[in-house]
């Protein structure tokens, strides 16, 4: 069965190649640090499943030390010039889009297909990982179409990948690191502590106060945790269910639906949601790392207000 382990092996091989190319890059004065960084990341993928937890922890800390202390320098592999790119764009025209769109198209089709595909009762692809397997399949198919069409050398995708990986830099690790921090928070009972704190401050009395506490609490707690999924159970068990549903007779479905969306407003406003906010800033080469957040804050605040009004108006009606 093709599942996560196969994908991790592919990722491990790719980052091993990136490490090798980084080490060979004489134009980079810190090439060994770059090679070590990508090498450690590759080791996480290749050996992580078989290493003891302590060794994985050491790998993670090694990555943080190299990536976080400014030990590495962005590698700049030679790429095409703007003039070459414009000429190539004029030659290949919309076939370039086709190659790019193969990735989401295969990801979608594969997700639907692999969930149900069985041979003699066995799943050839792990149905729980259908989306990720399909995404990687889409990437491979896109390369398989694009490379002969563009007459690209085999090292070109690797060097271009290295260019982009180095450009994103440490931000590339952040989503995975934050997910690990979330697990430490969960094990240490941070959610319960915040829940207890909120309950202690809980305003008595009005419906409006209960709704405002819940929607604002969802947004704020999501900003802290970087993830509405982590905030939802704590805030809903601590504030939503006891007050809005039990005390005031609100509709649990409406409360949950709008409560989660209030959390999403928080996601738009926090650097802790790295994959949505900091990573695109790095990918788009923004000078201001918080530029994406700043563009989102007006929409997020208006929607948070709208969610609070919507919940207050809708949740106490019986539809």
């Amino acid at each position: 069965m093709i599942g996560l382990e196969v994908l991790y092996a592919i990722a491990g091989a790719l980052f091993a190649a990136i490490a090798l190319l980084s080490g060979l890059d004489r134009s980079n004065s810190r090439r060994w640090q770059n090679a070590a960084f990508w090498g450690l990341f590759s080791a996480c993928f290749l050996f992580g499943s078989h290493l003891p937890d302590m060794a994985n922890g050491a790998l993670a800390i090694g990555l943080v030390i190299i990536g976080g202390m400014g030990g590495w320098r962005r590698g700049e592999p030679v790429t095409s010039t703007i003039a070459q790119r414009q000429a190539s764009a004029a030659t290949h025209r919309n076939r370039l889009f086709l190659c790019a769109l193969i990735i989401p198209a295969v990801a979608l089709a594969g997700t639907m297909l692999f969930r149900h595909l069985t041979f003699g009762g066995l799943h050839p692809v792990d149905p729980k990982q259908a989306t990720l397997v399909s995404l990687v399949l889409g990437i491979i198919l896109s390369l398989a179409v694009a490379m002969p069409m563009l007459r690209a050398r085999p090292t070109e995708p690797l060097q271009e990948g290295r260019r982009l990986f180095d450009q994103v830099g440490w931000a590339l690790l952040l989503p995975q690191m934050l997910a690990a921090l979330g697990a430490v928070f969960a094990a240490a009972g941070v959610g319960e502590a915040v829940g207890a704190l909120t309950t202690a401050w809980l305003p008595e009395g009005s419906r409006l106060a209960a709704v405002v506490t819940y929607t604002l609490g969802m947004a704020l707690f999501t900003m802290i945790m970087g993830n509405a999924f982590a905030a939802f159970p704590v805030m809903t068990a601590g504030v939503g269910l006891p007050l809005i549903v039990l005390k005031f007779g609100g509709d649990p479905a409406i409360m949950c639906a709008i409560g989660m969306l209030s959390g999403f407003c928080g996601t738009l406003m926090t650097p802790m949601a790295a994959n949505f906010n900091l990573v695109p800033a790095a990918l788009l080469e923004l000078k201001d790392k918080n530029g994406v957040i700043k563009a989102q804050v007006p929409t997020a605040l208006i929607l948070l207000f709208a969610n609070t009004v919507l919940m207050y108006v809708l949740v106490f009606h019986r539809f």
Partner: protein, 221 residues
């Protein structure tokens, strides 16, 4: 309550603009120690969680394919398609993408968008090309257009996906309510995501329509 110290580390770290990787590891250490774990125990716990969340980083595998297409002019082709069209303004292009992103997300097709696959190679270059057609070529404008392109992808995704009944957040809500003895159909939850989705479309759509004017006045200053 001591376990909340980790949150304080996160807030202080981000405000003081310390490298986020260092902040995250420091916060994990402080939280674990405050909860009574030994230092090595925290490292092992963090390592285990880091390993189990490797799937989060698999999205990066897309970059070699995108980088290769960029080398052969993908961004330039996206710009050429839009450049010169007077009707194509930055705001209108982003509005169109916003509508597509929100509707496809509502149908469960969330993987059609995304920052590495769509925004960097296609959406942002098109939005930039439209700004250039209208004479906005300064770097400040470019930065604003890029940031708004990424923001539009996020907002379209967030306020579309919850209308789809089989998305992770809906399943989380159904499971949570079930644990608390309340049985709710996924459809009943996703229906109540629609009012916010409509407001989101109006609010962000209006901002995008006004964005052209804002860019023009920003460049004039």
């Amino acid at each position: 309550m001591l376990t909340l110290l980790g949150i304080a580390v996160v807030v202080v770290g981000f405000v003081a603009r310390i490298n986020p990787l260092l902040v995250v590891v420091a916060a994990a250490l402080v939280t674990g120690l405050a909860a009574g774990m030994g230092p090595l125990e925290v490292v092992a716990l963090f390592g285990k969680a880091f390993k189990e969340n490797r799937y989060v980083s698999l999205l990066w595998l897309v970059l070699p394919a995108i980088g290769l297409l960029e080398r052969y002019g993908l961004q330039e082709r996206a710009k050429a398609l839009i450049g010169g069209l007077q009707a194509a303004t930055t705001g209108r292009i982003l509005l169109l993408y916003f509508a597509i992103r929100q509707i496809t997300s509502a149908l469960g097709l969330t993987s059609l968008g995304g920052h590495p696959q769509m925004v960097r190679p296609l959406v942002a270059p098109m939005a930039e090309a439209a700004a250039e057609t209208h004479g906005l070529t300064d770097d400040d404008t470019r930065q604003k257009v890029r940031a708004m392109s990424a923001a539009t992808d996020n907002i379209g995704l967030f306020f579309g996906e919850d209308i789809f009944i089989a998305i992770g957040s809906i399943l989380l809500m159904v499971g949570f309510l079930q644990q608390n003895g309340i049985v709710v159909e996924p459809l009943h939850l996703s229906v109540w995501a629609i009012p916010t989705a409509i407001v989101a479309f109006i609010v962000h759509g209006t901002r995008l329509v006004l964005f052209d004017r804002k860019l023009k006045s920003g460049a004039a200053r």
